[in-house]
């Protein structure tokens, strides 16, 4: 019994808790990608760099606040700096839209042109970010590091395995819950939100009903920038901030959006968790878990790990390929890419 509990705690500590946090970060990212796809009808490859840009502003503001002695008790100062990052990212998105995407909208460019344009913005914004903050790893988390420490858990429960929950993980899950709830409330119950859904569903009919397309596009960018900055900051708090990592995040984020059904907000959330849990579950070394369940003796020398963690991106890629082959519209039946 106790060994079974230990096995469960092990899985909880290395898969469930980090999976929930990582899944939430992917879900917020994928929600932004999916909204741009639904309303502006293209896959925005620049999304990872928007996350990076917003996070960079949060980090710089955090550093300034820290040196000014500002802090909010046990919580990371970055939360206080978040609005600055959000406004900066909104500004960036609206500028990009005004001076880049608007031109292609007026040309009625095909989605593939948009896609390539978004890759262009990705490189430009990415370069700008590395120019400003540098390519190095940055750690900007402060305050209390853990909600639950592994050592305390062991001492209090008497189990030999510990369960740790980082503050960043707790904040990530709570914030995601709150933000996603807010986005769904906005889309389903407000006039503007409904007009966005109508525009995404049937552009011509929405125009006929008097929906202002410029306004819808603007609001979509604003929501995307907010989501991207929050997702990027939470990811940076949880792991650490490094510009290149945000470029790599694009793959799991797109995988999440497509697995869930691109253009479908609910699908983006589900897809985020599917990708996160698959990634962790497939790259986790199960040796200790099996040792608790079956005893040490019968297990060989192997780690019982399906795939090395170096290949974690291959997991999202595999899932992406499988979904595109088996059910191209995704779990929640979005549009096909």
């Amino acid at each position: 019994m106790e060994s079974a509990m230990n096995a469960l705690i092990l899985i909880g500590n290395y898969i469930v808790v980090p999976g929930l946090a990582y899944g939430s970060q992917l879900a917020l990212g994928a929600l932004g990608v999916t909204m741009i796809y639904a309303v502006l009808r293209f896959s925005n490859f620049g999304h990872g760099e928007i996350m990076s840009f917003g996070t960079m502003l949060v980090i710089l503001t955090t550093f300034a606040m820290q040196s000014a002695g500002l802090a909010i008790g046990p919580l990371p100062t970055a939360l206080l700096a978040l609005p600055v990052g959000i406004f900066g990212a909104i500004g960036l998105c609206l500028l990009l839209d005004r001076y880049v995407y608007k031109f292609y909208r007026q040309q009625r460019a095909s989605p593939v042109i948009y896609l390539i344009v978004s890759i262009g913005t990705m490189f430009i914004v990415g370069g700008l970010v590395r120019f400003i903050i540098g390519p190095r790893d940055r750690n900007f988390g402060d305050g209390e590091r853990f909600i639950l420490k592994a050592g305390e858990f062991k001492a209090n429960t008497g189990f030999s395995e510990g369960l740790a929950i980082k503050t960043a993980q707790g904040i990530t899950v709570l914030t995601t819950f709150f933000v996603v709830g807010l986005v769904f409330w906005f889309l389903n119950y407000t006039r503007t939100g409904k007009s966005m859904r109508a525009f995404a569903d049937n552009e011509d009919l929405a125009l006929l009903s008097g929906v202002n397309p410029d306004r819808v596009v603007k609001i979509t960018w604003i929501i995307t920038a907010v989501l991207a900055t929050i997702a990027g900051t939470l990811y940076g708090l949880d792991k650490s901030y490094k510009p290149l990592v945000y470029l790599h995040l694009l793959l799991p984020i797109f995988a999440a959006a497509i697995v869930g059904g691109v253009g479908n907000p609910l699908g983006a959330i589900a897809g985020g968790y599917v990708i996160a849990f698959s990634e962790l579950a497939i790259t986790f070394a199960y040796k200790k878990v099996f040792a608790y369940v079956f005893g040490d003796g019968i297990l060989g020398d192997g780690l019982l790990q399906l795939l090395s963690t170096d290949y974690k991106f291959a997991v999202s890629f595999m899932i992406l390929v499988i979904v595109l082959l088996v059910k191209p519209t995704g779990i929640f039946s979005g549009k096909t890419l």
């Binding site: 009919l205 006929l208 009903s209 008097g210 929906v211």
Partner: protein, 234 residues
Amino acid sequence: MSALVGTAMTGGYGGADILRGCTISANSGEITVIVGPNGAGKSTAMKAMFGMLNLRTGTVLLDGKDINGLPPQNRVQCGMSFVPQTQNVFTSMTVEENLEMGGFIRGDDLTDTIEEIFNLFPVLREKRAQPAGELSGGQRQQVAVGRALMTQPKVLMLDEPTAGVSPIVMDELFDRIIDVARTGVAILMVEQNAKQALQIADRGYVLVQGENRYTDRGAALLSNPDVRRAFLGG
């Protein structure tokens, strides 16, 4: 007095003219039907009156006011409403949300109008919380007409409302359209099912190659031997 009149309309989508001086008018509380062979410019005439196509010459008057040059959105504000032939509902949104979007331009309280439309199309009340994409063809057309009525228009234009629905559903839809006309709305519609449409029409236009060929009461056109032989299959 006619609610909507398009006089001597000439124009097309660039290149050759599709409309060649055709004139169409619709009266309040009446059903006006445009019929004719394929390529006669039926839908084009209606789209021209809704501002979806620029006329080279000719005028369109709404309640005696010249609305030439106004884009479709502004014509909606002036009291015109249009139901396209295809993709005329928001498939991912519920029936009620479709109606709300129909009244988006109004910005005031929509509950009374939605209630009127539920009284007109009782089946929509039952399906109010269901996505419009899950409804049958006939119900979907009712959502489309309901959406267009949300602005409380003076003129309702329907582009082949019965395309692709069964004969029973077609009769039902025509009954509903008669009900709408009784509320005082001017109805202008293009129809492939010419015989059935002319039976409910107060006035019918037969267009051929962008020109008026016959104009008369619906019943009179139906009993006109020339029209029957040439356009209604005997």
